[in-house]
Symmetry: C2
Subunit: 70 residues, 2 copies
């Protein structure tokens, strides 16, 4: 599984765990909602800075965003 796909599935999982809509999450990370949706579906190739922005909003270590859960 590619890092971008693992990252996207973690973004979606953490967003839902926190009860956030894609719109609310996009506001928090300061990215377009369409981009957040594409990230969640593994359709984008985000930079390390973007990974860190999501990790900060979710309050997790950036590396956790790139690991398969469990």
């Amino acid at each position: 599984m590619r890092l971008g796909q693992i990252f996207g599935s973690n973004v979606r999982r953490l967003r839902k765990e926190r009860g956030l809509s894609q719109e609310a999450l996009a506001d928090e990370v300061g990215l377009a909602v369409t981009y957040v949706g594409q990230i969640e579906r593994g359709q984008r190739n985000p930079t390390l800075d973007v990974v860190e922005r999501f990790a900060e909003v979710f309050g997790v270590d950036p590396l956790e965003m790139l690991k398969l859960p469990g």
Copy 2:
């Protein structure tokens, strides 16, 4: 320490461990040598695909490229 800086220091360390010049590494990953130098100095914000390309050339797990060694 930012992920980009950790990544850069790992690229430099692994490149030297394998006895590669920046030019030889750039050839292997298919990126410009100036870009590889900037990555090593933590001056770029690489994408997850780029992290995976270096990991493949070095034969390590992509996540290892983003962890402080030791």
